[in-house]
Each structure stands twice: as C-alpha cells, then as structure tokens.
C-alpha cells in the first residue's frame, strides 16, 4: 500500500506536492507569480513578494505590479535578477 502511494506521489506535480509557487516568465519583461501570500517591498527597482516557500525578490528598472490578487501577482518592467531568499 505504502509502495503504491509512493508511486502515485511521484506522478503528482512538484509545485502541488511541496506547495511551491509557480513563476512564469515572458522574457525579462513580465513575470506571473502564482502562490504569493503578500507584498513585502514595492518600489520601482525592487519588488519583494512573500510566498509559502520563501520571499522572492525581483530586481530591475521601472518595475510595477500590473495585477494583484490574494494568490497571484503579475510583475512588469525590465527584470534584471530574481533572488530566492531564505
């Protein structure tokens, strides 16, 4: 039974399994973050978002939050780097 469960768990997507955020990039102009729990820092150069895993920092120029909901954030601008801070 346990073996079967282990086999099944291998087929489950990683983000679902470990409750990880999903980040989708469109070049370096746009990033869609699913699984965000709030905004920690919001400025034109740095946007720091809190997730269930760890805070994510977007660094760049002219950054802005295009759309925001309780779980999803769309960051737009010229993204230079992304940092996963523990």
């Amino acid at each position: 039974m346990r073996k079967k469960l282990n086999k099944l768990s291998d087929k489950v997507p990683v983000d679902f399994k470990y409750n990880l955020p999903v980040i989708e990039f469109t070049g370096n102009k746009r990033a869609v973050i699913e699984g965000s729990t709030g905004v920690i820092l919001y400025s034109g150069d740095i946007i720091k978002l809190n997730t269930r895993m760890s805070p994510i920092t977007f660094k760049g120029r002219g950054l802005s939050i295009n759309c925001i909901s309780s779980t999803c954030v769309i960051v737009e601008g010229f993204i230079l780097s992304v940092e996963f801070v523990n």
Binding site: V39, L41, Y42, S64, S70
Partner: protein
C-alpha cells in the same frame, strides 16, 4: 471599454498611500477583496485608482496599516451629479427630454417600403393606411400580423410581406407574386385573316399556305394564310389542316377627325387667393389661418412640407392650401389658335393610338365649318395585320364509316 464605462458610472478616485510600510496596506486590501488598479510606487508613496464605494470603506484598513490616504483626483458620474446638483433645471430638463423621447418612441414615425418594385408604392401606402398602419399611429394599437394578412388579401400581387417596427420606423418588406407564363393554346386549325384593308409589304409565314403576295391589296377579313396544306409526300397527296402561324405586314390607312367649337366658356383665375395653413403633428392637424373662399367657383393648390431628420420624414409639418377663385367668361377662338389646338390634339392621339407602329406618312386638312373648326388627319401605317381565325371542322358520317 465596458469596464471603463462601469468605472465612470460608479465613480473612481486617484489616491496616494503615504506611510513607512505601504505594502502592508496592499496586502490588507487583497485579503479583504477590495479592487484597485494601476498601483505604482512613487518615491516614498504608492499611487493607485479605486472605486468610490470602496474608497469610502478603507479608512479602518489604512489606520490598521498605519498609512495615510490622500485623494488626488475624483472622476465619474457621481461627482458630476454632485457638481451640478445646484442646477436643478438641467436635471429636470434632462428628465423631461427622456420622458418625451420614451413617449414618442411609441409611435410610428415613418413607413419605409422595401421591394415590390413592380407594384405601385402609392397604392401600397394607401392600402396600409386602410389596414390601420399609417404615420403617427400608436405602435401598440397596430396588430402587424393582421395588417400583413389584410394587405395580402387586398393586393393579390403580393406573395409575401413582413412588417418590422423598429425605432419608430415601420419597414415593410414585400415580395411580389411571380406571374404564370402564358401557355400557348392547343394547336387547333386556324387561318390568318386581315384585320383591316391595306397593301401587303412583307410576309413571314411559319406554318400554313400563304394566299397573298407582296404588293397585293387585301380587304378586311380576307384570308392571308390558309390552314389547308397539301401533304409533303407525293404519294400521300392528301389535304390537311394546320395551325397557321406568321406575320403579314401591310400599309394601312387611318383616318381621324377632330372638331372644336368656335366659342367656349373658360374659367379665368382671380389674382387674389386665400391661404389655409395647418400645423400637423402626429395624427392631429391644428389650423393656423382661417380664411374662407369668396368666389363660388374655386380651386385648391395643396402644399405639404414635413420635417426630415436623418432621411426620416417626421410626422411634424405644415400643410397649406392656396384657394383661388374663378370667374367664368365666354371666349371666341380665332383660326390660328384653333388650328394649333387641333394639331396638338391630333399629335396626342398619334402618340397614344399609333405611336407603336411604323408611321410612313401623315397628312392634315383643316376646315372651318359653321360654328366649329375641323381637322382631318390621315396616317399611313405599316403593321402586322394578321389575326387568328379558328377553322371549325365537322366530320361527315360517311367519312366516319
């Protein structure tokens, strides 16, 4: 576009968030499901847009997040209403205009006819009026299906009709009935006879035996093409009857007499006239001037002008009637005038009676008789004079045996 319109109608605010930690305020708004858009960081503050209704209820959240809210700009319909609330006349005027528009949209303002090219438009309009559909009538009082049925009964040439009343315009779609093609009657034996006296100019015989030649004179009812035909095979030298067919052209002479009396009574128009003017609005007509004709004999010249807006004739307009008086006097016609008049009459008659034929020659003779003038017109016309005359064949008893 629709979202923008909804935002404008509900009213929105351009605000700024000032504080040490404005991000906390964003998180609080998200948790409470409050909508905002275009949130941007500007130096030590955040700016964004929010609906007026939400902006009124976020003060406690701002206090909780220890930030200060500043309203920068107010836009939308609620602010416009507040701005012009002092001018009550504008609002009342707008309300009255809306009420009038709503009231007038219940009437038929114009009738448009689509299709029915072969039918008379005036006839259709008058038939529609008889059925109860006319300009200015209340839309709810017209049963369009009943009108359609009545119109089809009234004008049998209509095959299909549909009336659509949209935006105060009744669009009448009509399809005409397709006429049955004429079916040639059975090929019974017949002769072709002369319709009138004349001299043959041309013969075209498709079937039958031609009895006349080019240049021969024929009399009325004379057989031109006989139905009796000899058998083609020499061995079968039998006579048979056929359906004669062909065209026989002949020069024929027409004579017509025109007479007019030397003296006649004419009505002379008076220089002065009275005018009756009415103001038409929907189904009502209000008189603007009330003048009565002074003369016993009078004539009217009606004149109607309606208001046209965006190629739609509105049921608002002015109709006037100019009423002229006449006096009766006796007049004697002189010779030249009488000749001109008679020639005019003769030419009019030519157009209607022999206009379709090839006219070869015309001659006029003008005469003055005791109390009248006379014009004799003689026309030489070339036309097909062949007319079908059926041949009745009786079979003898002997032959039947």
């Amino acid at each position: 576009m629709l979202i923008k319109l909804i935002r404008l109608l509900r009213g929105y605010v351009y605000f700024s968030v000032i504080g040490t930690y404005p991000e906390r305020f964003i998180n609080v708004l998200n948790k409470n499901g409050i909508t905002y858009w275009n949130i941007l960081p500007k130096r030590d503050k955040l700016t964004g847009y929010m609906l007026l209704y939400d902006y009124k209820n976020i003060r406690p959240y701002a206090k909780g997040a220890s930030v200060k809210l500043r309203c920068i700009k107010k836009s939308g319909f609620p602010f416009l209403v507040k701005k012009y609330s002092i001018r009550k006349g504008v609002a009342i005027g707008a309300a009255i205009a809306l009420a009038v528009m709503f009231f007038l949209s219940n009437f038929i303002w114009d009738i448009k006819l689509n299709g029915g090219e072969t039918l008379s438009a005036a006839g259709i309009y008058s038939a529609l009026e008889d059925c109860g559909l006319k300009r200015g009538v209340l839309k709810s009082s017209v049963d369009f299906e009943a009108v359609e049925r009545k119109l089809i009964i009234k004008i049998p040439e209509i095959r299909w009709i549909s009336i659509n009343a949209l935006n105060g315009i009744a669009e009448v779609e009509i399809k005409e009935e397709i006429k049955k093609p004429k079916v040639k009657k059975g090929k019974y034996p017949c002769n072709l006879t002369a319709e009138s006296d004349g001299i043959i100019t041309k013969t075209i015989v498709n079937n039958g035996t031609c009895e006349v030649k080019k240049g021969s004179a024929v009399m009325k009812n004379q057989v031109l093409v006989s139905s009796v035909v000899k058998g083609t095979n020499e061995a079968e030298d039998k006579l048979s009857f056929v359906h004669s067919d062909g065209k026989i052209y002949a020069d024929i002479e027409y004579k017509k007499e025109f007479i007019i009396p030397k003296k006649n009574n004419i009505m002379i128009l008076n220089s002065s006239y009275n005018e009756k003017t009415n103001l038409n609005f929907l189904w009502t007509s209000l008189p603007l001037k009330l003048d009565c004709p002074k003369s016993e004999v009078y004539g009217e010249i009606p004149y109607e002008k309606s208001l046209v807006f965006n190629s739609v004739t509105l049921p608002i307009g002015i109709s006037s009637r100019k009423i002229y008086g006449f006096t009766e006097t006796e007049r004697t016609r002189d010779k030249s005038f009488a000749k001109k008049l008679l020639l005019k009459q003769s030419r009019l008659s030519e157009i209607f009676n022999i206009g379709k034929y090839n006219v070869k020659n015309i001659s006029y003779s003008f005469k003055e008789i005791k109390n009248s003038y006379k014009l004799n017109s003689t026309y030489t016309v070339n036309k097909n004079i062949a007319r079908v005359r059926r041949v009745h064949i009786k079979k003898s008893k002997k032959h039947n045996r």
